[in-house]
């Protein structure tokens, strides 16, 4: 070969043979291999599961954060700084009489109006006209609503029509009721043309419309809606102040993406002299919501995943070291039949790396499985970022490689003689 020295071809171990020896070493002791891998399996599994669950959860939040919420702004009347109303009465509501029209002038507003729950004395009973002789056994909320508020609620009408501006301005005794209240009072939608009435503590309100549901304000529960001006005439001003549950509020339906801008302008437009009396609640920011979920839980779990990986590395390092000490005889035999120190090191390094990779693969499968099962149980869509998930087994590879380095070096340094004496 033209080489000084022995003139013999140098001993060599091909990559394929190294891999075959490593796999043989693992397969021969499956139980030990499984236990050795456990730390890596847990670490990589936790890593994949945390990232997958976080992504899936964040995806779900964006999904649930629907267009409806994104286009709703609410404004509450917190009351005047100095209550100048005579004792026993409430101050005028903070919103001006033409609040609906003012809001309509703001760019991006689709519909807006004022509403409040009318405070009724204990034991108020709702009953239908004598001809129908029904009585509502359930609790019915009586709400005062401006025409704009009715539009912003987007009620789904079953019969009749929503409360009109004319009815409000002339303080008519009319009402809109929901289908369940209607059936409790024995008012069927078909009877609407005969002008049935609902008596609230003796005051008759002609039912002009029956709705089945609404997108805003009265989305849940039964409610009877009467015009704002009618309510002011019959029951006086509502109690101001957030927390009373009776304060006047404004509900604003906006175009998509306009809610933020509307929130900024509405208070000053409605009440230029005292804008701080009105408390504006814009829709929650979905990006911020996601960020909070990502930031808190994911950070914690990633630290846990890293700790498991570290434990996994220590586990592989320890087992490989024990294997090196246990297999000194084998090292001696291999050296006796021509293996060079690098071949011995390569073999042990390949074994630990293969164990790490296998652990990483199993861990990734388990992690993905957890995300899939969790998402299925929640009826969520699985969101897995391939950029993190696909290379995840390589984390195990790196762990195995690093963990095997020292034991492999120890093995390579073992003198063949000492190895054979030990065996």
């Amino acid at each position: 070969m033209g080489r000084p020295g022995a003139g013999l071809p140098l001993p060599r171990l091909t990559v394929r043979d190294t891999a075959a020896e490593a796999i043989a070493g693992i397969v021969q002791r499956p139980g030990r291999a499984g236990l050795t891998m456990l730390g890596t399996v847990l670490g990589v599994g936790a890593f994949v599961a945390v990232l997958g669950l976080t992504a899936t959860g964040a995806g779900q939040i964006s999904r649930q954060f629907s267009v409806l919420e994104d286009t709703t702004v609410t404004v509450a009347d917190n009351g005047p700084a100095n209550d100048v109303a005579p004792p026993g009465t409430n101050p005028r509501i903070g919103f001006p009489a033409d609040a609906d029209v003012i809001a309509d002038h703001i760019k991006g507003v689709v519909a807006a109006g004022v509403w409040w729950p009318v405070a009724l004395p204990e034991g108020t009973n709702f009953s239908a006209s004598l001809a129908l002789s029904g009585e509502a056994s359930q609790t019915v909320n009586l709400l005062a609503v401006s025409p704009g508020a009715v539009k912003a609620m987007v009620p789904a009408m079953v019969a009749g029509s929503p409360l009109s501006t004319y009815e409000n301005d002339t303080a008519q005794h009319v009402a809109m009721i929901d289908t369940s209240t209607a059936s409790a009072l024995g008012i069927s939608p078909a009877r609407l043309p005969s002008h049935p009435a609902v008596f609230v503590n003796g005051i008759a309100y002609t039912v002009v419309g029956i709705y089945s549901s609404a997108q805003r304000v009265v989305s849940g529960g039964s409610a009877m809606l009467i015009p704002e001006d009618t309510a002011l005439a019959d029951y006086g001003n509502p109690q101001p102040g957030i927390g009373t549950q009776e304060e006047a509020q404004m509900v604003i339906a906006t175009k998509t993406g306009a809610a933020e801008a509307v929130s900024r302008e509405i208070a000053a437009a409605e009440l230029p002299t005292d804008p701080h009396r009105l408390v504006v609640t814009p829709p929650p920011n979905p990006l911020k919501l996601q960020g909070e979920v990502n930031g808190d839980l994911a950070g914690l779990f990633l630290i846990l995943a890293l700790i498991s990986l570290l434990i996994g590395a220590v586990g592989i390092a320890n087992t490989t070291l024990v294997a090196v000490l246990e297999r000194t005889g084998e090292i001696g035999v291999r050296r006796a039949v021509g293996a060079r120190p690098r071949h011995i090191a390569g073999q042990f390094l390949a074994e630990s790396t293969a164990l790490g990779t296998l652990g990483g693969l199993i861990g990734t499968c388990i992690g993905v499985g957890i995300v899939v099962i969790f998402a299925a149980a929640q009826n969520w869509t699985v969101v897995l970022n391939p950029v993190y998930t696909l290379p995840a087994p390589l984390i195990g590879t790196v762990v195995g490689l690093l963990a095997g380095a020292y034991p492999a070096l120890r093995a390579a340094r073992t003198s063949p003689l000492a190895a054979l004496r030990h065996a």
């Binding site: 020295g5 022995a6 171990l13 084998e330 050296r335 006796a336 039949v337 021509g338 293996a339 063949p416």
Partner: protein
Amino acid sequence: MTAPVIELRGLARTYPGPPPVPALRPADLVIGAGDYVAVTGPSGSGKSTLLHLLGLLDSPTAGSYLLDGLDTSKLPDRDRSALRGRRIGIVFQAFHLLAYRTALENVLLAELYNHTPRSTRLQAAAGALGAVGLGHRLDALPTTLSGGECQRVAIARALVNQPSLLLCDEPTGNLDSRNAASLMELLDQLNSGGLTIVIITHDAAVAAHAGRTVTISDGILSERIRAGHG
């Protein structure tokens, strides 16, 4: 006179102390191709030290060791490894078989580090096992083999690379008398085929098989020349 396979010139090994132990005092020895040499001596006399030096498992502290005319004491580890793999076969008293590998795989291990393709290796390993009479036990694990069979696997492993020198360290030490006799018969046959054999033993019956007997006592090597041989 045949060309020497082994030539020792003042070869010595002293284990560093304190106090330093001169395990092998400067020794000269020439072993020709096809020689059958027994190294005898009491325990601790330096027999194993000599075998380890001959097998290139250890390095001398003085002198030189020529294997096939090549001075091994000046070679780097990679060339010593190459020589171990190609020119020398070693058989140990404790067999040193890998417990989880079959007889065939144990023999294949010796071919792992040379440059032969896998199919050639398989053929050679099966052939070597056939030559020691184990052609029917290729897939047997060492745990299912008798001591004699294990030692035959070890011999097949030592011979699979067709070395010019076979070193045996107490090869019958772990065998009963029947298996020992059968093994010695095998070694005799191999020697008749032209293989150079150096066998370390404290058993006079085993030593009797060899044409030459070298004795070590307190690290000093000496040879009795027998009548009718040489």
